[in-house]
Symmetry: C2
Subunit: 346 residues, 2 copies
């Protein structure tokens, strides 16, 4: 299996190295074989080539079985007037590979409850999956800028909504059979199309899955007030960005949450939902669990290695149980570093 | 002082009646005089006239010293295909009165900490004010709809951003001198204009106020992870909608949070941030505190009656201290109803 690794910026190189080490340990134990190649993306790519997504990188990702990404961005490249921005590389990659479905599972681990701002009794049994539309909406609409105005266009087609709802419906069917679709249909036209389309697809193709609609503002409350009630949540690109970062607080730290970005083809992109954390980059203290969990999703969704994926997830759970907590999760003075956390999983 | 009261839908009539009762009690005690007239808005207006904001209502609001609104919307009027929607009435009112600045203060009360999903030690000392831009952005941009596509345009002018940042800067200066501006400048053009403009206005006009920028997704985390750190938060319309509902969870219940919508003129609009709660409407059990707190903001911002406003706020705090908790805040079996909660404040 060929895996294209895109370390990116900030703590990206540190956490992808940890994830690759775990994948190699898994390969040794289970007998699968992986071949890894590294490529530039984000700020690192801008520095080296002037472009946030060099053609070579996109071609390598297209040729690979799966892509593992660290994180992109940082103050060095965040001048609003800059011609090239790291985030453009990530967006172009998602679009270039046709990865319209971003899966973000949230399942708080007991060892991390102390780090969550949410009361522990609300977190017991939480097991939710946010399915975020990833290649449409205001992220990819036309932008304009004049001396006095700026605009961004949010647009969705019926087809774009159908395929993401179908994906979410199929996932809900394999889980607890309950799907919540999030929109702002009382204000936005795209949300009204979203709601109508979701209703139709679910009625016609998933009559056995319970569908509910929620407004995004109400969902921002319910997500933290009664997280246990939710199973699969499907929403458009921007709302998904906001709600999944909020949902990460259920798990105690952004440093634990993986994501899988999938299309209709085989190649998927796997990345932590955290950013490049420039403040702690290069110090060897970043939490590698989100990247390692992303590697587990890679084995599951792109390589079809379910048992091997589950093995890594169990190893992470046991490491956390045993107290392998990085600084984002540990009390003062007890944190372990990236290398120790990685060894604990291996 | 002439106050236009727009009860609206669901629990709107119940909570505005409570707020008016408190205003009248305050008038008797303090000697100010108010005159109240009721007007239609939202679903109630659609039922009676076909329009969510009848011309008579807008004219009455323009002629008044202040407007007190309950809530709009409900399942009866939420068919996505409907020609007239209750929410259009609220949006047209905000726009028609030029109310571009929506102030949403959040200060958790000790008696409500039990109802918050957030750990109590994070809530002690929280005192934040979200300033939401209310008449621009994707709420008011051009919308299109074809058989296969829908779109919403998000647009901001420099002038629109300047005036809301100025408002927020002035408020921050009177408080702890710290302003956080929230955007998604790594993706959106409107956010880049927002960030540049905010930076310039604050540097030129408020050099004594500390300014920070946060991405909306990161803010959705920080808001619940370290709410005590924030003072004034300024953001665009849609982000403000989502973040303030999320922030309401700090206070334990949406049922406690008031808002003031202000423009450059004198007339302001005061409304709870909660919705019409159709599930409990007409049963006399709604929490009237958000509406009563909105009436206090009305005295302060539109009538210049600061002591009289503070008196109502103290009365609410004491009522909560004394255990005047409606069902959204109380343990099972101990809740009081709307009338009793209102009497406790009076
Ligand atoms: C880096 C940024 C463009 C990206 C996004 O907004 O999609 C990130 O926040 C994410 O959620 O993956
Ligand atoms: C009813 C709706 C249009 C409104 C909004 O989104 O502005 C409400 O959610 C609010 O926050 O006041």
């Amino acid at each position: 299996h060929h895996i294209a690794v895109l370390p990116g910026d900030g703590i990206g190189p540190e956490v992808t190295a940890a994830a690759v080490a775990v994948l190699r340990a898994g390969a040794e134990r289970h007998g699968y074989r992986i071949e890894v190649s590294e490529h530039l993306v984000g700020g690192a790519a801008i520095d080296a080539t002037g472009e946030p997504l060099p053609a070579e990188t996109l071609a390598a990702c297209r040729a690979a079985d799966a892509v593992l990404l660290g994180a992109v961005g940082g103050p060095k490249w965040s001048d609003p007037g800059a011609r090239a921005r790291p985030e453009q590389g990530l967006l172009a990659l998602r679009q270039g590979l046709g990865l319209y479905a971003n899966l973000r599972p949230v399942r708080p681990h007991p060892a991390a409850l102390g780090a969550s701002p949410i009361k522990p009794h609300l977190l017991a049994g939480v097991d939710l999956l946010v399915v975020r539309e990833l290649t449409g909406g205001i992220y990819f609409g036309a932008r304009e800028r004049s001396a006095t105005h700026a605009s961004d266009l949010c647009t969705y087609s019926v087809e774009e909504i159908e395929r993401i709802v179908r994906r979410a419906g199929a996932l809900a069917r394999e889980r607890r059979g309950y799907l919540v679709s999030v929109d702002k249909a009382n204000v936005l036209e795209t949300s009204r199309l979203w709601r109508e389309t979701a209703t139709r697809v679910m009625r016609e193709e998933f009559p056995d899955v319970r569908l509910e609609h929620q407004l995004v503002d109400a969902m921002a409350m319910h997500l933290i007030a009664r997280p246990r009630e939710y199973d699969v949540i499907v929403t458009e690109n921007m709302f998904g960005d906001i709600l999944t970062d909020e949902a990460s607080m259920l798990a105690g730290s952004l440093g634990l949450l993986p994501s899988a970005s999938l299309g209709d083809g085989r190649v998927g992109l796997y990345e932590p939902i955290h950013g490049s954390a420039p403040d702690i980059a290069g110090r060897g203290v970043a939490n590698p669990f989100a990247a390692i969990a992303s590697a587990a999703l890679l084995l599951r969704h792109s390589l079809g290695l379910e048992d091997e994926a589950a093995c890594i997830e169990q190893a992470m759970a046991r490491a956390l149980d045993a107290g392998a907590l990085t600084a984002d999760l540990a009390g003062p003075g007890t944190a372990i570093d990236t290398a120790a956390a990685t060894r604990a999983v291996i």
